[in-house]
Subunit: 301 residues, 4 copies
């Protein structure tokens, strides 16, 4: 017998996904967004913001390892890390796998989301919110970075998609990335999730990539797959100095071996696999000229 309860997500006006809901664990209209936590038929628990899947229990490790490790492994000695967004706490979890970490500052707008994740998604954060090196700040990430005096080794942008009228729209502009640049240390690296790289829906990724390319000397696109996102998922890594593609398999293996945990997705092979861009994507990035600016933020969707 078919389930009665379904999570319906329109990813655009022509595509939607349906997931059976085993249990509704939490729903709320927070100060900033609609927050829902479900237990789905196949994916386990899932965090949903404004009707969009953010991460799901069965494959969040793919997303979070892919978001965090390319940047931190490339840096080699990350000590001070800033996370913008990342409410589930899984980004913190992955960052704390590095013994060199001295501080992790997470800036998330929405305290209610973070509190709900703390309570209901322990499989994500694994109690790393309690680590003494971790500080959580409830503030707009853009304002926080502008006012920050710390130079960070790594800034991780773990943000909702740049929807018009969404809370993250001003965190994908050239002006913002310039600010990020300013607050990185000399060997600093920024990484951002950057929406889908599906051939039929490449617009957002191209713009984000090209916008970041205006600001950083080393910019690398990469991608992974997250089944609960239904589509291959893109990231952009931007660095002041080191290049993730120049690391050898041996170097990668050695750096990964220092982590204090074994991983489920990321290894020396998947590192390079993620940076192996298909030709259609290389071509699209080469041809892109648009830059996303505060004054006229591009409509991504």
């Amino acid at each position: 017998m078919l389930n009665s309860r379904w999570f319906l997500e329109f990813t655009n006006e022509s595509e939607a996904a349906l997931h059976s809901i085993e249990e509704v664990l939490y729903t709320s209209q927070t100060q900033y967004q609609r927050l829902e936590i479900f237990r789905l038929g196949k994916y386990g628990k899932a965090l949903v913001l404004d009707g969009k899947m953010q991460s799901a229990q069965s494959d969040e490790f793919i997303y979070h390892e892919s978001l965090v490790h390319p940047a931190l492994i490339t840096h080699g000695e990350p000590r001070k890390v800033l996370i913008a967004g990342g409410g589930e706490g899984a980004t913190i979890r992955e960052v704390l796998r590095y013994p060199t970490i001295e501080s992790v500052t997470m800036v998330d707008l929405d305290e209610e989301v973070v509190e709900a994740c703390k309570r209901l998604l322990p499989e994500w954060h694994e109690d790393t919110f309690d680590d003494p090196r971790v500080e959580v700040v409830y503030e707009d990430a853009r304002a926080f970075i502008e006012n920050s005096t710390v130079p960070y080794d790594i800034i991780i942008l773990d943000l909702p998609e740049p929807m018009e009228e969404g809370p993250a729209i001003m965190l994908y502009t050239e002006e913002f990335y310039k600010n990020v640049y300013k607050h990185l240390s000399a060997e600093g690296i920024m990484v951002t999730q950057a929406t889908t790289i599906a051939p039929h829906n490449l617009n957002s990724y191209r713009i984000i990539f090209n916008t970041i390319s205006q600001v950083f000397p080393v910019v690398r696109g990469y991608y992974t797959f997250v089944p609960s996102f239904y589509t291959p998922w893109g990231f952009v890594l931007a660095s002041k100095a080191s290049d993730p593609k120049s690391l050898t398999y041996d170097e990668l293996r050695e750096r990964i071996s220092r982590l204090n945990a074994s991983l489920g997705f990321y290894n020396e092979e998947t590192h390079h696999g993620m940076f192996a861009l298909p030709d259609y994507l290389k071509k699209a990035l080469d041809e892109e000229k648009r830059v996303n600016r505060d004054s006229s933020p591009i409509s991504f969707y």
Copy 2:
């Protein structure tokens, strides 16, 4: 205003996808299956068999390049190729990119599907059905291979998923793979599509991989992403001798340069990227003990 017409595909009892339909180009109940060709809102044309998306215009190149090139590039000098399934003709198209090809035999059960694809999906086959080296046989692929006397360099299994009561269920068993082995030349390579590798739905891929491992000395899992499949997609390459992972970037580049067309997805980097298995998948394959046999075909779903 939302579209009225939607293609609803339940991929399992807990997940479904909705795509808006721009145009219904063809529908038929053939002798073997329900056949539909749509023009979708985002993906362009799409071939649907028994309600399941087979390939879509915007990303079929990712599927077909990923299916064909790892095997043929690894072989190096493919001359005689057998394709089981592959009705759209895009697998033929990719095979014919190799100047060494002498013959391509495609065995598909369902003439009506092939005829509809010939007529309605020229973007897939690019008229390669008319190439004098191509022969299409309408027959059960298993019987055809058993009775074949040709040793093939490459056998490509471009089949529907192993659904209970589906037409392809007996093309995923150890007995079948033994037959494939027997009809390959000494340097022969088999490749098969092998369903999703999503962590929550790994059962079919594990069994297929382990079943093939009973028969071939070199067996390599790999995967790609095909957005219209909503999930990362697995393949298994099985070889009598050469190993796709042992090719250097230079070797790959040189071999790819001999092809008579430029590709959209496959290159020396994505070649290795596809064989870069995440740890969760390596572990699952290592632990798998089940073998799919004619006498008791495993229920994949």
Copy 3:
């Protein structure tokens, strides 16, 4: 195996219906609206305008008999009938069942809809478009009535729902009804479809009823069920003189016996059944004070 093709209709932001599509018979963006004709899994053919089911083969007789006969039977001797909307031709069909009819004028904005119905929905119109008493005018019904010099015995408003920005929004106002009144003969009757009477969604019906009540001396609400509308469907009959509720069973039987066809839904019992209003509806109509005017058309949805 579940069908692949579905007609998805959101009737409001909280409810939708899905119907399997057997065949897409016609789709077009006309000058005025999106036009689709489907063959559905259960209802046979269906006319869909702007994504909204207009009528379906298996139960259009219920809608059209309920729309036409209460007014025409109540009148007794209808000779000149005006239909606003009614593109399928089934309203004409029902009107022509009265031997007294001298002329039927149908005013529909959208010639492409009428032409498509003529060609594809013969079960609806039964070739009555060809009757010499029938004239079809492609024009805005409001303008047509304003400029008309004929006094009509019956004016039938067979219109799309009053959607904001929809083509029919100005055909539900007090000013419009006053115009209708002016162009009716002394015994004239107007009838309009008037949206759902479901208790949870009564807003539109109440307003339409009360607006008409400002203009006509005899105003009667009635309703029927049309399964393809998913909800009980309301009408308003407005008369200058005679009252449909005052007819006896014998009178009704006698008048119905004069029709030149047997009906599927309407008879002397269902006539009174349709005017038998539940108490919740009577109460709602009694309490309603809103009037829909040109200057500030009420938002119905």
Copy 4:
């Protein structure tokens, strides 16, 4: 922004309804069925059994008044009433509106359903479970009636639809109705819900009606609309003596005036309106020859 949570109900293989879920109030797999209580976007609370809407807050009064009052009003002096099914308690509520009632026995298989309704659906039962005249028995209704020694004035069958393998399949057979007949007093009346009367889906109603006609001398079909059922809903009233259609408006008014509450749907007009059968339905009932028997229960769907 569209809601994320939807109740998806396939009413047959070609039709489904989607309702937005505001809140999941209860879910359980009971000993007998899947039980869910939702708060829906438009209908308020709703009871769902095995994925099928049973009743909804905004229109349950239409269903329950239509189920109860035609029989009890026709009887005139109901004292002993048996209800089979009716877990929500709203059928009890309507029965207790008659001052003549001495006892109401409700037999429901599933204690967990009744307990959940008691706790979560007070708007339905209005605490009538606590009335000293009410007894609830958790047992199979068929066995209970067979073993009963009380002659009842009224037996109300407020059952789930006759689904193959459903709990109610044996409560729609000739043998069962004979048993009901035996346990009714000389003026006794049985009434049963009897599925949809939509023209395209009339099979079940016809069979139920004809089966009951084998057993009772007076059998009357009637119907109402319940928006949350998406379709007009049929009932069958079967009586040993009195005929609901023979009551005059004055008699009805007088009998209704004795009730200890005002109603929302049922009145002297809607009474006759419900028994006013359309010609398509009369014809279908006249032609029906099938009888549902224990030995070979007819497949209703």
